[in-house]
Amino acid sequence: MKIIVCIKQVVTGDQVKIHPQTHGLVRTAGCSALNPFDLFALEMAVQLKKEHAGSVTVLTMGPKISEEVLREALAIGADRGILLSDPRFAASDTLATSYVLGMGIRKIGPFDLILCGMRTTDSDTAQVGPQLAEELDLPHVTGVEKLQRMKNLFRVERVSDGFREILEVSGPALFTISSKGIVHLPSLVEIQEAFIKYPIEFWNLEDLNADPAKVGMVGSGTWVERLIPIAPQKSCAFIEGDIRQQARLLLSKLIEKNLLS
């Protein structure tokens, strides 16, 4: 079984910088990591590979430093890592991103299954999975908890809006994987091997034979007009006095803030 897992390097921490022109997030090595939701898709792919034999290819679009998350995926058990990287891909929204990933998958060739994380921790749209399925004209199901392969069918189970759904989907298909499962983290040896054993393949716009009008900001249907980081506001106040005074003061403050009704 040939499985493709699409992953993303996300911005982490509170040191997020915003690009003055594109209003996008500036991605640097110091504040980037593999999107935690992608771990569940990778885990599912590695388990399926164990059961059915086959291969797991990981694919991501991003700047050169995104190579790191491909290495991480290789350490977890993927066999091949491909980075779709081109300055012209920058500022792609989900419409353009799903096009670029789709072109990458067309170049990879035939496959049985595409798995994605359910959403990302940075932009959190949960759109790329369904839009990639549309790009490649595949059926898709989001938030899959269980996946079984039965000849040309996949039987999947998920909960959607309070209903447990059991669906049969013809392959090839795309699923986004629920974060309710368990993931295993790679050992130090596996991480080391991932950096030594495998080359990462880099594909740019020309390698993909992609239409420059469909990528980056020009290929996007949404543009960020303004991005305002929200600093969490916490304040701490000490209440003085004897125990009765403290209790009375606390009570009056809670009432003042409408926390007691």
């Binding site: 799903s98 898709h140 309070g162 209903f163």
Partner: protein
């Protein structure tokens, strides 16, 4: 922006009446549309006339109802085709979809098929 805005609201009826998000969206659409715009509810499913009436009562001037026994259960692929074809035919300016799990499965695919932008988790809109 155009004054006679055509705003569509996707009718997420599966958890009616527990889930009131579609009714809330209809109210939001009503205020966005102003006096000259129109609000249309889109209902896809089977035996939904009572819900269609409720949408009218909650702010829709019109409901497009697609009814078929085979539409008794939600399916992202069928719904994508039906909603996209309706949008292509009637060309509304805005389609609002509640961010339920089904909404989040459907809306990205519809946006991609139509080649239009989609913003998810919208809290405020600017005219």
């Amino acid at each position: 922006m155009k004054r006679d805005l055509q705003i569509w609201v996707f009718g997420n009826h599966r958890n009616d009446p527990k889930d009131r998000s579609t009714l809330q969206l209809l109210a939001k659409a009503r205020s966005l549309a102003g006096d000259e715009g129109t609000v249309t509810g889109i209902l896809v499913g089977h035996l939904l006339e009572e819900i269609a009436k409720k949408y009218i009562a909650c702010g829709a001037q019109r409901v497009l109802l697609v009814d078929h026994p085979k539409l008794a259960f939600y399916r992202a692929d069928l719904w994508t085709t039906i909603v996209s074809d309706l949008v292509r035919e009637y060309k509304p300016e805005i389609l609002l979809v509640g961010a339920s799990e089904f909404g989040k499965e459907l809306a990205p695919r519809v946006a991609k098929r139509l080649g239009v932008g989609l913003w998810i988790g919208t809290e405020r809109q600017k005219g």
